[in-house]
């Protein structure tokens, strides 16, 4: 289940860095992981420019690999600068998340979802 709210805006880069920190991946793989995590259905027109931007910033590094079928795939891996950015943005995110949690509070036990 994917949230319908536009919450991802501003956090897409962080999500991409985090997923690539786990393992290198290609565009479509990343979009499926985002969807599977229930975070967002990111349109290709948003995802691919974001990846190119990270590449241009030197945070990720592409390499090409053959796929079982179809065209070769452009895989991305985190660079050292990417790991640093991930650590910094991850800390920002946790501060932000804790702040929101404090404002929204915790759901009452047993409340309907």
């Amino acid at each position: 289940m994917v949230t319908s709210r536009p919450w991802l805006h501003g956090f897409l880069d962080l999500c991409l860095l985090a997923m690539l920190g786990e393992r290198s991946d290609y565009g479509y793989g990343l979009s499926q992981r985002l969807a599977a995590a229930g975070v967002a259905d990111v349109p290709g027109g948003t995802l691919y420019p974001a990846l190119l931007r990270l590449e241009q910033q030197g945070l990720v590094e592409p390499h090409w690999a053959a796929s079982g079928s179809g065209p070769r795939r452009k895989y991305y891996a985190l660079t050292a600068a990417g790991h640093t950015a991930l650590a910094e943005q991850g800390a920002d995110w946790r501060r932000f998340r804790d702040g929101i949690d404090a404002l929204v509070g915790t759901p009452v036990e047993g409340s309907a979802r």
Binding site: G44, P49, G58
Partner: protein, 287 residues
């Protein structure tokens, strides 16, 4: 059956729009190929996955242009090697002093504007930069590959745009086909598609200036010298022109542009003000 002009496909239209927006043709080609691959891997077509080609091109370019370049990675290079250096240059015609004590250094990745009142020697200075006029005093060093776009044009009235491309290309050692396709690429960046068979004398003043601009850049010069190249341009073309200047700079070329429009100056790195009298002052402006 003639081919439908709208049917040249998503990648071609995407690539053309990227080029028009100032991306390097090779980069545009690579991005188009990448987008096609992305559509295939997503089991979709490019239009469904990424949207209409011209809109996606603009979105992509604005995303990439917003990036503050980290040191040493991508982005416009820091000003580099010296492409042009004038030291204490002066020019006299008999008793009349046209220029005196002009210093100007232009490096790769820089745009310099030359401003001043009519008759202050702007065009003479540009000709000195190009090596067409010898200064009376001072020294000039310049890179080998220089492109000059003169104000009054150097086009032949009875030749078509394609013939100009071929002719000027031949002077730079380009094969005719390559010269023509390069010329058409460059024209497209100025939103101009030369009509076959139309001689230059039948072009509007603005379009003839576009032809001049394309001819000045046809041989990929490292240093471009432009003498008010936008006379007769409409607003849209004028913006295309400045986008192009910025793209040249970001591609590591040097540009000297003679201008009298002061609002142009936000695009430039340095201003050489020739004033109304001989004797030059250089002012640096923030980018």
């Amino acid at each position: 059956m003639s081919p439908d002009p709208d049917d040249d496909g998503w990648p071609a239209r995407f690539e053309a729009e990227l080029v028009r927006l100032g991306q390097h043709p090779a980069r545009a080609r690579a991005l188009a190929q990448e987008s096609v691959d992305q559509a295939v891997e997503a089991g979709s077509d490019a239009d469904r996955l990424l949207g209409p080609p011209h809109l996606y091109a603009r979105h992509l370019v604005s995303e990439l242009n917003d990036v503050p370049a980290p040191p040493g990675v991508g982005g416009p290079p820091a000003p580099g090697r010296v492409l042009l250096r004038l030291a204490d240059v002066g020019k006299r015609y008999r008793r009349r002093v046209v220029l005196a004590g002009v210093d100007l250094t232009v490096r790769a990745g820089e745009v310099a504007a030359v401003v001043g009142a009519n008759g202050c020697g702007k065009s003479t200075l540009l000709r000195i930069c190009a090596g067409l006029t010898r200064p009376t005093s001072g020294t000039v060093e310049r890179t080998r590959r220089v492109g000059l776009v003169p104000q009054d044009g150097g086009t032949a009235p009875w030749l078509t745009a394609a013939e100009h491309f071929t002719l000027f290309g031949a002077a730079a050692g380009l094969a005719p086909r390559r010269a023509r396709s390069t010329g058409e690429h460059l024209a497209a960046r100025l939103s101009w598609r030369p009509a076959a068979g139309q001689p230059a004398q039948d072009l509007s003043g603005g379009t003839r200036q576009k032809l001049n601009l394309v001819l000045g850049e046809l041989h990929s010069p490292d240093l471009l010298l432009l003498d008010e190249p936008y006379q007769g341009f409409d607003q849209g073309t004028y913006l295309d022109f400045w986008r192009q200047v910025v793209a040249w700079r970001d591609a590591g070329r040097g540009v000297v542009v003679v201008t009298h429009l002061l609002h142009d100056l936000r695009h430039v790195d340095q201003v050489l003000d020739l004033g109304s009298r001989p004797g030059a002052r250089v002012a640096a402006v923030a980018r």
